[in-house]
Each structure stands twice: as C-alpha cells, then as structure tokens.
Amino acid sequence: MKRYEALKILAPRVREEDLAVVALGGTIDEWYSLHPGPNSLYLKIMGAITPVAFGLADSLPHRRVFSLDTDGSLLLNMGILCTIGNEQPKNLVTLVIDNECYEVIGGPPTHTSRNVDLAAMARGAGIRGAVAVRTPEELERELAAALGREEPGFIVLKLERGTAVFPEEARKRTDGHEDKYRFVRHIEDTEKITIIPREVKSVRKVEGPANWG
C-alpha cells in the first residue's frame, strides 16, 4: 500500500466538523487533492504535528482531531507519545505515515526501516490501542475500531515508498501563514469565537476638553 491509497481510505472518515493536522513532505499535495477543506492545518514543522494536534484535541474536546504525522517527524520528538499515553485524549486519532525513509529528500532510510517499532513504543507509552497496518483492509478495520473506541487512536501505516504527482495548478499554493489564517478562521466561524482580534474601532472619542484653537 502506498500513501495515496491509504489517504484515500482516510479522507472520507474526516468529517466536516473534524480537524486534521497534516505533516510536511509528500503528504501535503496528496491530502490537499483528497480533502481540500479549511479544517486541515498544514504545518511545516517536523516534530510538532502530533503535539499541535494534541493541543487542539485538548482544547476542543467535542471535536475529533486527526494527526497525519510521519515516521521522520514523530521520531524527532517522541515525548508526545508519553503525554498522549498519560492524558488519554479520546478525541485524538494519530496516523503515522511510515514509509521507512525520508522520501522527499531522496529516500535515506529512517530508524523504522530497521528495528524501531513505533506502534510498540506507543503501547509502551500507554496508548493501549496502538497498532500497525500494512494493507488497505487492515487500515479500514483498524480505523473503524479506533473511531469506535473511547480512547486515543494510534495507527502506524507501514507503507511502500511512492508519491503521487499532480499538475502544478492542482497543488496547494498557500504558504504557512495563509494556511494558518484559513484554519484559524474556520475555528473562529465554527466555534463562534474570536482568536485573532479585530483592530480597535477607528473613530475614537477624545476624553476631556480638546482645544484646537
């Protein structure tokens, strides 16, 4: 199974009211082609994908949050496994896209290509339901199981290498700031809150007497 095939299985499971934090690399254009809505936050920060998703899930416990993390990114900051294991956010589903290499920079292998088992490490950190899948059928089954449980979901997708290619005009064209605004405005609108405050009203009253003469 390649990443695009796996994302095609995941995309219909991410509902309009759900949120997703999306890792960098080849995942971006693939996810954008399948799920272009404003409820995905694309982050160019290895090691911060699942922490940011955790912060969203903790702050919005009534919404389901998906972390679309990668082997390289998770390996950079594995402490988040322990925090998920201790805090048990039941609305957070982490999917680790594990192609066992840093594909976007030419494919040098990551540690998961040898002895490292991320699902076992997650279970050791207290994420009891953590599993690894290799086939579309396994992914379907484990995704349904994770979404049905009242505990954090954690699925490692053991994938073949391979990145889908899109015409230039079909690729995401926004930068990190525009991506942030789009996502935060979506949160503001759907939660009916203000996160980025409006400017102060431009018509100001002068306090006390004003002498222009």
């Binding site: 911060a48 922490p51 940011v52 903790d58 990190g176 700031h177 942030k180 949160i187 203000t194």
Partner: protein
C-alpha cells in the same frame, strides 16, 4: 516562591484569561506547580520536553484557548526550533513564562549558561519579553502579553525573577 507571589501569579493568569498550563517543572517555581495542578480553573498538562510543549501550547492557541508554556529558561533552547517555525513560518504564537536562572547573583554554577543564552536567544528571534521583578507588575505583564500574542501573531516571553521568585 513565597505564597503571596504564587497567589499573584495565579490571579494574574486567571485575569488574563489563561486556562491551560503546559509545563515541564523546574526548581524556581516549585511552589507554583502544585497550586496550578490542583486549581480546577486550569488544565495542567505535563510534557516531556519544552519543544513538545511549544507545539501543544500552539495547538491550544489555534483552538482559541489561552495557554502558557511554563518552564525553566533553559527550556527556551530546547523549544527554539518549533518556536522558529511556529512563529516565523506560520504566525502561530506561544506565550512563554520562564524563570531567570543564571541571572546576576545566581548561586548554581550550572545555571550560569541559562542566563547567558536566554536574552540573546529571545533577541535573535525578535521575541518581545518582559522581565518581571516586582510582584505588583505581574498582572499588567500577563494581561499585556496575553493580548499581544494574538495581535502580533508572534511569541511573547515573561521572565519572572526578583521578588517574584524570591
């Protein structure tokens, strides 16, 4: 920290609307942590390192929740990479509260480098900061910092020292 300083920090955080504390504890705020942990007005999240904490606090902000990353100033060094990308690549801010280990007068040799690197790192990152030495400056500092991160869409640091941590 003395109990009146702990109380003032807690009040300052509440008045600034802060509801989530993301933290890796250290020694200078040791009296503050259990108070925050047990206060039902705060969501208290222990992390394993400050880089992880920066990401979590950023996620809280993007969800509309006011959070602080409470840590030793050495944690700034650990958090620097995600802070650079959150703040500069995305404009997603984090409000940091840290102690001033290594300030002039430090009694631990191992803490000296914490002080040598803290302000230069904040300045290199163009992160505005307030060094709060007086207890009666706490509420104003928290109120302004809490507002500033969402207006500037960039990090702010509060460094608590002097009579606050005495």
């Amino acid at each position: 920290m003395k109990q009146d300083a702990v109380r003032l920090v807690v009040e300052a955080m509440k008045e600034a609307g802060i509801g989530t504390v993301v933290t890796l504890p250290e020694s200078k705020f040791k009296e503050l942590y259990p108070v925050l942990h047990t206060d039902p007005d705060f969501r208290y999240i222990m992390v394993t390192n400050e880089a992880e904490g920066a990401g979590i606090a950023a996620g809280c902000w993007a969800a509309g929740k006011k959070a602080v990353l409470l840590m030793e100033n050495a944690g700034l060094r650990v958090a620097m990479e995600p802070l650079a990308r959150l703040g500069q690549t995305h404009g997603i801010p984090v409000l940091m509260v840290m102690c001033y280990t290594g300030e002039i007068g430090e009694r631990n040799w191992w803490g000296i480098s914490h002080g040598q690197t803290m302000e230069p790192l904040l300045q290199a990152m163009h992160i505005p900061y307030i060094v709060v030495r007086k207890k009666d400056e706490l509420k104003d500092a928290f109120r302004r910092a809490s507002t500033h991160i969402s207006v500037s869409l960039y990090h702010v640091a509060l460094i608590l020292t002097g009579e606050v941590t005495a």
